[in-house]
Symmetry: C2
Subunit: 339 residues, 2 copies
Amino acid sequence: MRIIVDTMSGDKGPQEIIKGFIDASLDFGIEVLFVGDENMIKEEVSKYTYQKDKIEIMHTSEVIENSDDPVASVRHKKDSSICQGLNALNKSGGDVFLSAGNTGALIAASTIIIKRLKGVRRIAIAPLIPCQDGCFMLIDVGANSECTPAFLLQFGYMGHIYMKNVMNIQNPRIGLLNIGKEDGKGTSLTVKTNKILKNTNLNYVGNIEAREIPFGAAEVVICDGFTGNVVLKLLEGTGRFMSNALNKIFVKNFFSMIAAFLLKKSFLEFKREIDYKEYGGSPILGLKKHVMKAHGNSDSKSFYNAAKQAINYFQSNAIEEIKNNILQFGVVEDETESL
Amino acid sequence: MRIIVDTMSGDKGPQEIIKGFIDASLDFGIEVLFVGDENMIKEEVSKYTYQKDKIEIMHTSEVIENSDDPVASVRHKKDSSICQGLNALNKSGGDVFLSAGNTGALIAASTIIIKRLKGVRRIAIAPLIPCQDGCFMLIDVGANSECTPAFLLQFGYMGHIYMKNVMNIQNPRIGLLNIGKEDGKGTSLTVKTNKILKNTNLNYVGNIEAREIPFGAAEVVICDGFTGNVVLKLLEGTGRFMSNALNKIFVKNFFSMIAAFLLKKSFLEFKREIDYKEYGGSPILGLKKHVMKAHGNSDSKSFYNAAKQAINYFQSNAIEEIKNNILQFGVVEDETESL
């Protein structure tokens, strides 16, 4: 198996990406194709011991920055690591493509180069997020700011298939993020979607409220990409806020430093339990091939975990099952197709 | 000053409401009109020492439950505590009405009985939420699931006036909750609203992302009621989740119990800092009179704090200033008025 990795992305520079994937290559025996500036990659790679036949480099001369316009950058920066990495994936030069770069550009380039599976209306970014007793998939978190009930229905099916085939959860509970449990609650989007989801063969547990999310109310939480992005970033922000606050409390005085020492192990355990870096990468579901998005802020550990998840995703038959099922189950009339 | 209080609301029963407001009456010298089942209120009130001339009771025979349909319940339960309390406010039988009951019914009844200020398109529920170094106002959190740019512009002005006049923040920073900092980011709603807000005399700091919220990115955060409700409930859920997790860590073993003892004071301080109960009640802005919503889960301390906030709100000239300014500044063409 071979993972194609965009080294020109990520807020912490190529060091973390390259370290994470060299470690993963050693531990899991996978091949890695690093895409980006050749000299820079060579220099980084030379710092490590690795199996020569497992690591390859593909030089690209352009970089899509986070501030670049997604569609324009995909059109004009043909020799960027995102475009060339996806081209390599498309021509079977690898099995999975992973990038921590400009999300909009990755979505646009994936749709143009890899293409959607037949019948899939919109692709979706679907991270796994830790919660009480495990994790859940939030789908979508930003590929589609505005959605129709038909999109959300398909997100439900794609999430179901991923959690079943990749995460081995037999009949994942599917919930619709809403602002109340009752049927009439929310926007016209959530009211209609709730009605549609009730008439599927999914294990639909109904509307769920945001306060239930951390307690594991469902294994797949469906929402439009705007709301999902807000949820994801708020979880990130509150996590960082709490972590800062605890650190301040622990250095307050002599007694609190003793307490911090006594609690260190338990806190590290808890931090790992709720660390989104444990899952590393988010699949972009609905595409013909395996594309994953890593968090911009990822470190080498996070990229290492993303590699693990890429392996599980590739070894499952999730894409095959989406392809075979989406036209059978995941389609409803869409009054607002123009969206 | 006299506060009209719905005693038939709140998840914890009338005990907490009545205790909170009797304490507030003693400490701040305010009059309170308790609305609800007379016998029940009399029994509760008799448990306390209070100034006889400050506490009055108005009997009502019906209760709007949380599960009731908002509009239907307002139409059919005329003798409910919400409807009769608002009628009393409308006939100047008090200065502020406060309820912890069915939000939809409170919004519907307020709009029908108290009515919007001239020029206000939609009323909004606007809680104060603790964050680093203070608090911010989130507007709206559920009065309007679907919004237009014209609604959000007015939320900005109403939030500005509240924070200036009631919270004494001279030129409050106004932010638009969005999924990216750049101008083109988000839905058509946020793209248009961002453009409009830039051309106002508000202290508009631009799009803000959810991860910045806990760090106090703005004193007024504008969003549609669906997104705001998700944010509010997610903050509540993550707060409870973290609190549960810490409690588990603290009782894990002998050493962690020692640590818990050493940290007790610091943790209680921190908990108070981020406790939404510190603010107790949310103003419903855009109405002709002072109506406040308390969290269903409030305890007596929270109702006591809500009384404090009601006093500050009433003593400010926020409503007068909204009335005088909204037609001058807070109006734009609205292409989608039908929403």
